[in-house]
Subunit: 706 residues, 2 copies
C-alpha cells in the first residue's frame, strides 16, 4: 500500500476545508455520526456542513442529503462513519462528487484480519482512482484549532497552541486531549492515524513541518510505514521544528537485541533507534517525558549550547538539579569573572555565587531578579533553571513575575521554572504559564526538558552530511560470485568467495583461495607466499577453530600438505555428516587490533552497518555501534567508531601506536556501498578486520545472500 | 561526633512529648520563634506548652517564662530558636532543667565554617553531659501527625498518613509538605535532619521502623553520617517496612567512577550504590520517582512476585505499559487456562484475552469488573495495572468503584490505576484515591511503582545471609610483611611480598620469591621448579611488560641467569632513575581464564571488593562488579560473579569447560577477610587470577598499605 510520494505534503484542504460532509451523520445523541457532526459545529467551524443520511432530512439544524452525490456544492472533506461493509460504495460516491480527502472513522478493516485488509486495499484503490487522500480507517479523526475544525468523535476540543500531536493510538489521542484540558497545554493539530491505509506519519510530519501554526511535532507511533520516506521527511522537517517521538512496542525487540547471535544484535528496535538518530528526531521513552518536552519546546527558544545555570533558594534541590544535568549530558555553566564579581558584591556572604547560584532561603523576588539577570547576561550561559522552594521569605508570585520579565529580555535563552510545592505556589505557576515559561514541580524534570532542547540544538547546528565518495568498484565480479553460489544451491559464501566479493569493492583482504586437493593448496601457498593459514571451507561449520579446522603459520610445502589432510580428517572426525568444499588457503597476516564490521537488514530501514571489538569475544562483549547504510556519511562512520570501546584500543592503548582510522573508515564506507548495491546480501560479517598503524585488512568474510 | 549507639532508637518522647518549651518564642508575627509556637498550638498538640522569653510574660495566650530553669514542670522537648551564639547557654539550661530532647532550629553552626563546627561540637558535648539528644542544628524541625506535634517553622501541617519523610534539606521538606497538601499524600512524620550533629538518618530510620503508625520510610539525603550503622539499622528496618532513598550529589562521584584507574573504579557514589543494595534500600534517581513509589507503598501490599497483568480499554497504552514492564525487569504474567477460557467466553471476540487484556474501547465498568476479577483470581498474577482511557463508552467513575471493590477482595495483590486524561476522569481518580488505590496519569509511572514493590518483595523474601566461614589464616605473617615494608619506607608491596600476604590467608598463589642477584634467581628457580617467569620487582613500575621487565617460560638455569640481566638492563635503559629491588622469580602457571579480584576503600562504608574480567583490558572493558567487604556473604559473592561478563566466560564459553566457581568464591571471601582484618590495606588488586577447571591461582598481587 505504500506510494511513491515525496516532498512536504500539502494537506491544507484536509485541515481547512471549505466544506465538509459527514456521511453517516445521525440525529441520535451518543451515535458516532452525531458526535462528529456536533463536534464540527461546536468547534466554530466556518465552512459549509453537509450531513449525509438517507433517512433524515435535517440533523442538528442542517439540511441533510441522502447521498453525497446529491449535495449541490463541491465538498472538500468527507468524514465517513458508516459500517465497514458500506464504506466502499460511499467512498466511490465521494470520488464521483469530487471530494478531495476522506476521513474514514469506521472500523472493521485491517485490524480485523485478512478480509478487512482486503477491504482496506480496495478502499485505497477507490481513493487513488479519484485522487483522494485517506485518513484512517479505524481512526478517531483530526482536529485543527486554528481553522477551527474538529472532525472527530473525541469529547472536547484542545486549547489553541503550537503543538501538532500525531497518534497511532486513538485512545491515547483522546486521553491526551482530555489531559491537556486540565494541564493547559495548547495544540495546533490532533491527528489520529488509525490504520494508516494511505496517509501515514510521514505525510502528517511533512504537513506539520510546513504549517506556520505548528512549532513542535509530537508523535506516538507503534511502527513506521515507510522507513526511507520517514528518514527523508523527518530529516528535513527537524531543520524547521523539533520532532519528539514516543515509539512503543520496544520490548520484544529489546529481547531480540539481547540475543547472542551477531546477526541478531541488530534487532528492530535498534533500527528505529539509529533511524531516529539519523533523522535528528528526539526519542523519548515515556509519555510523561513526551509532554514534559512538549511544554519546553512549545514556549522556549532553541538554546545556543548546553551550558546550564541553576538559580535556587535552597541547596538540596540545587544538588538534585546538578545531578540531573550531568545525567543529561549537559554542562554546568562556569560563570565569567564579571558575573562572579557582581554576584559576590550583591548577594549575602553565605550565598553560593558559583553555579548553582543560591539566593538563600530568605531570598525574595528582588534577589531572584538580580541573580537571574546577571546569570542570563553571562555569555557562558545558554539556559537557566530557576528553582523556587516555598521558604518563609519566598515570594513565589512576585518571583514568577520577575522570571517572566527577565527571561523576556533574553529571548534567545531558554528559562525553566521549578516551583517545588503545591498550594502556596499556585499563583506563581499561573504567572509563569501565562508568561510562556514552562514550569515543573521537580528539578530533574526541568533539566530533562533542557536536555531535549540541547539535543535539538545540536541537530539544528549540525552541518549537512556529505554523501560517501564514489568508489571505483567491480559490480560484475560480485554478481559473478553470487551467481556461482546460487548455481551451487548455496546461500552462504565460502571464505574465498567472500574475500573475492570484498576485494571487488576495494577492501583490502588477506589473499584467500580455495583448494580442493592438498597439491592445489601447496600451489596456492607458493603463489600467495608463506606463511599461510589453512581453514576448512564449509558454510555449515560456524566455529572452525573449535573442531581443529584451522591451522596457522605454515611455512613450507610439506607443512601445507600435512596440515591439509589434518584439517580434513579433524572435520570428518568431529562432523562426519559435513562434506567440506575444500580448504581455504590464506596468506597469514601479521596481527593487528581485531575489529568486526558487519551488516544485518531491517525490514523498515534496510541494511544496518555494525562496528566494534572483533575476535572471538564479539558476542561476549557486545561492544558494537550501528548506523543505517543508506545515506551513511564519513562523519557518521567516524562517530560510530568513537562510540565503541574498540576505539580506546585503536587510538593507542597503554602506549601502543594508534591504528589507521582512515583505513577503517574506508572499509566501513565500502561495506555500506556494497550492501546498498546488493540487496540480496542478507547478512555479512567481516571478523576480524586487523587494524594496523598503517592500513587495515579483512581476514574472514562471511556473507549470506538470498 | 559519631557515637556508638546501635539498636532501634526510642525517640518516642521526641515525637510525642508530654510538654514542650520554645526557647526564643516570640509574639511578633513572622518571627521564627512565633511561627514555631503557633505551629505547635495550631496542630492540636495536647501536651503542655511553655514559651521562653525573658522579655515577655505571655505569648499567644501562654504564660511565658524568662528561662527554662524557671518552668515549674518537667519539659520533654526544648525547641531552640535563639541566635547561634546563645544556643550553648540555653542548651546548658535545658540540661539543668531535665529536658530530654533538643530541637535546635538556629543556624550558624557547621554550615558556616570551622568556628561554627567548633560551636556545634560544644553543643553536642553539652547535650551528652545531660543525656539529651539533639535534632539539628540548622533544621526546620519535626512533625508528627499522630501525636499531633508540629515543632517546625514550616507553613502547613501534613495530612495524616503512614509515610515518614526524613530530609537532609529543609527547603525540600517544606516544598514536599506544600506539594503533599495538593497531591493528597499523607504522612506520619516529617523530619528535618539539619546538620545531623547528633541524631542522623540512622536514628530516625530506626525510630520510624519501630513506629506502628509508619508503613513507608522516605529519605532525601546528601550523605550518610555513619556508614556501618546505617547498613545495620536500614538492613534490619527493611525487614519491617520499605525504605526509599533519594541520595543526591552523585554527579562528581559519577565522574570519579568513570576514571580509568582500577582503584578509582570504586567512586563514592558506587559505594552508596552497593551499600543501598546490601541494606535492601530502594534507591530512586529523582524526586518524582520518590513520590510515585511512596503512593504505591503507602496503600498497596507487598506482592508475592513480579508477574504483572495489565487490563486496558485501549491497545496503545497497553503496549506502553508492556514496554515499561520489561524495562523494569517485571514479568508479563502468563494466564492459566481457566482464566483464558473465561476471558474468551465472556469478552467480545475482538478483545485480546492474553496479557495485556483489552476490554476494548466500548468496555464499561462491568466488563472491567469481570476481566479484573478473573485476572486477579489467576495464581500466575502477582499484581495488576488497570488502564482507563476516556473512550466514549468508558465509565471512569463506576470503573474506579469496581477497581476498589475487586481489589478489596484480593488484599495480597497490589492494584494500580492509570487514568489517562484529565477532567473527564477526575471523579474516577477521586474514587481510587479514597479507596486506597494509587492512580497515575501515565502507564509507565504505575509500572515503575510496581517495579519498586517487586524489588522490595525480593528483599523481604531473601533469606538472611550467612556470614563467611571462619578461615584458618596467619595474621602474624601478614603483620611481619607489613612491618618489613614499613621499615623499608615503602607503602607499595613487592610482588613477592604480596604473594606472601595472600598465601598467609590461604589464597593459592603462584610461588614467587625475590632475587637480588642472578645466582639467587637460579637458586629460587631450582627450588620452585621450572618453567619460571622473571618480573622486575619495583613498586615504582606499573606496566612492567611494556618496558621489557618481564620474561616468561624460562626453562633452565642458563636462561634464568641471562634473562635476569636482560630484565635489569631493560629497566635501566627505560627508567634510569628507578633502582629495582630485584627480580621476582615466579613459577610459571598454566594459562587459565583471567579475572581480577580487587579492593578499594570508601570513606563511609570501608573496603569494597571488586570482581571482573582480568588481564590488560580491565580498564578498557570495565566489566567489574562490587560488594562491601564488611558482612559479605557467600551468596553475595556468587551473585557478584554472575553479574559480570567474566561469568559468561567462566561458565564455559564456546564449548569450553566451566571454571571452578567454588575456588573463585573462596579467594574472594578470603580477600574480603584480609582487607577487613587489616584496615591498613588501602588498595589491593590481584590481576590476573587464573581460573581453572579445577582450582584457581593468584598470579600478580598488588597491595598498598598506609
Amino acid at each position: 500500500m505504500h506510494r511513491k510520494v515525496t516532498g512536504l505534503e500539502n494537506l491544507s484542504l484536509l485541515f481547512s476545508p471549505r466544506s465538509v460532509a459527514v456521511i453517516g451523520a445521525s440525529g441520535k445523541p451518543g451515535k458516532i455520526g452525531n458526535i462528529i457532526l456536533k463536534n464540527i459545529i461546536a468547534c466554530g467551524y466556518q465552512g459549509r456542513i453537509f450531513p449525509i443520511n438517507p433517512k433524515e432530512s435535517e440533523i442538528e439544524g442542517y439540511p441533510t442529503f441522502p447521498s453525497i452525490t446529491r449535495v449541490p456544492e463541491p465538498v472538500d472533506v468527507g468524514v465517513i462513519a458508516v459500517p465497514a461493509r458500506t464504506v466502499l460504495p460511499v467512498a466511490e460516491e465521494c470520488g464521483q462528487a469530487g471530494v478531495k480527502h476522506l476521513i474514514v472513522i469506521s472500523a472493521g478493516f485491517k485490524e480485523t484480519g485478512p478480509e478487512g485488509l482486503a477491504l482496506e486495499k480496495e478502499l485505497v484503490a477507490v481513493a487513488r482512482r479519484y485522487k483522494m487522500r485517506v485518513v484512517g480507517p479505524n481512526c478517531v479523526g483530526i482536529m485543527d484549532t486554528n481553522t477551527p475544525f474538529n472532525a472527530s468523535f473525541a469529547a472536547g476540543f484542545p486549547k489553541q497552541g503550537e503543538i501538532a500531536f500525531i497518534s497511532q493510538s486513538g485512545a491515547m489521542l483522546v486521553a491526551i486531549l482530555d489531559w491537556s484540558l486540565t494541564s493547559g497545554l495548547g495544540f495546533s493539530k490532533f491527528i489520529s492515524l488509525g490504520n494508516k491505509s494511505d496517509l501515514n506519519e510521514s505525510d502528517f510530519i511533512a504537513s506539520a513541518a510546513a504549517d506556520p501554526a505548528t512549532r513542535v511535532i509530537l508523535c506516538y507511533i507503534e511502527d513506521v510505514s515507510e522507513g526511507n520516506r520517514f528518514l527523508d521527511v523527518a530529516g528535513r522537517a527537524v531543520k524547521e521544528k523539533p520532532i519528539v517521538v514516543l515509539k512503543s512496542g520496544t520490548s520484544q525487540a529489546g529481547a531480540q537485541a539481547a540475543s547472542s547471535h551477531t546477526g541478531a544484535l541488530a534487532g528492530s528496535d535498534l533500527a528505529y533507534e539509529v533511524a531516529f538518530e539519523r533523522a535528528g528526531v528526539i526519542r523519548v521513552r515515556s509519555m510523561s517525558e513526551l509532554f514534559d518536552l512538549a511544554f519546553a519546546f512549545a514556549d522556549q527558544p532553541v538554546p545556543k549550547g548546553d551550558r546550564l545555570a541553576i538559580v535556587t533558594n535552597s541547596g538540596g534541590p540545587g544538588i538534585v538539579a546538578t545531578d540531573a544535568a550531568e545525567q543529561q549530558g549537559l554542562s554546568i555553566a562556569r560563570f565569567g569573572k564579571s558575573t562572579l564579581d557582581a554576584l559576590r558584591a550583591e548577594l549575602p556572604v553565605e550565598a553560593n555565587i558559583y553555579n548553582p547560584v543560591d539566593v538563600l532561603g530568605d531570598g525574595r523576588a528582588d534577589r531572584y531578579r538580580f541573580a537571574l539577570s546577571r546569570v542570563l547576561e553571562d555569555e557562558n550561559v545558554d539556559a537557566v533553571v530557576v528553582l523556587v522552594c516555598p521558604t518563609a521569605a519566598a515570594e513565589p508570585g512576585e518571583t514568577a513575575g520577575v522570571i517572566v520579565e527577565v527571561a523576556g529580555r533574553f529571548p534567545e535563552k531558554p528559562v525553566f521554572g521549578v516551583y517545588m510545592g503545591g498550594e502556596i505556589l499556585e499563583e506563581g505557576v499561573r504567572v509563569l504559564s501565562e508568561g510562556g515559561i514552562p514550569s515543573y514541580t521537580f528539578p530533574e524534570v526541568a533539566v530533562k526538558a533542557m536536555g531535549g532542547l540541547a539535543q535539538y540544538a545540536r541537530t539544528v547546528k549540525a552541518e549537512p552530511a556529505k554523501p560517501l565518495p564514489e568508489y571505483d568498484v567491480d559490480q560484475e565480479r560480485v554478481r559473478a560470485v553470487f551467481l556461482a553460489v546460487k548455481e551451487d544451491n548455496r546461500v552462504v559464501l565460502l571464505g574465498s568467495e567472500g574475500a573475492a566479493v570484498v576485494e571487488a569493492y576495494g577492501i583490502p583482504v588477506a589473499p584467500t583461495k580455495l583448494a580442493t586437493r592438498a597439491e592445489e593448496a601447496v600451489a596456492i601457498a607458493e603463489e600467495i607466499g608463506y606463511p599461510v593459514v589453512l581453514k576448512v571451507a564449509s558454510p555449515k561449520i560456524i566455529h572452525k577453530t573449535d573442531i581443529g579446522g584451522v591451522r596457522m603459520g605454515l611455512d613450507s610445502p610439506g607443512e601445507v600438505m600435512a596440515n591439509f589432510w589434518a584439517v580434513i580428517s579433524n572435520v570428518q572426525r568431529s562432523l562426519p555428516e559435513v562434506v567440506p568444499h575444500g580448504v581455504d588457503v590464506q596468506r597469514m597476516a601479521s596481527k593487528g587490533t581485531e575489529v568486526i564490521i558487519g551488516m544485518s537488514r531491517d525490514v523498515h530501514f534496510g541494511p544496518l552497518i555494525a562496528f566494534g571489538l572483533g575476535g572471538i569475544y564479539v558476542n561476549l562483549l557486545k561492544d558494537v555501534s550501528f548506523r543505517l547504510a543508506h545515506g551513511l556519511s564519513l562523519r557518521e562512520i567516524e562517530k560510530m567508531i568513537t562510540e565503541t570501546k574498540a576505539y580506546t584500543l585503536l587510538r593507542g592503548y597503554r602506549g601502543e601506536k594508534p591504528a589507521d582510522m582512515g583505513a577503517l573508515v574506508d572499509i566501513i564506507a565500502r561495506v555500506a556501498r556494497l550492501v546498498v548495491d546488493f540487496p540480496q546480501i542478507t547478512e555479512m560479517d567481516i571478523n576480524p578486520v586487523f587494524a594496523y598503524q598503517s592500513g587495515a585488512q579483512a581476514l574472514d568474510v562471511k556473507i549470506t545472500i538470498s
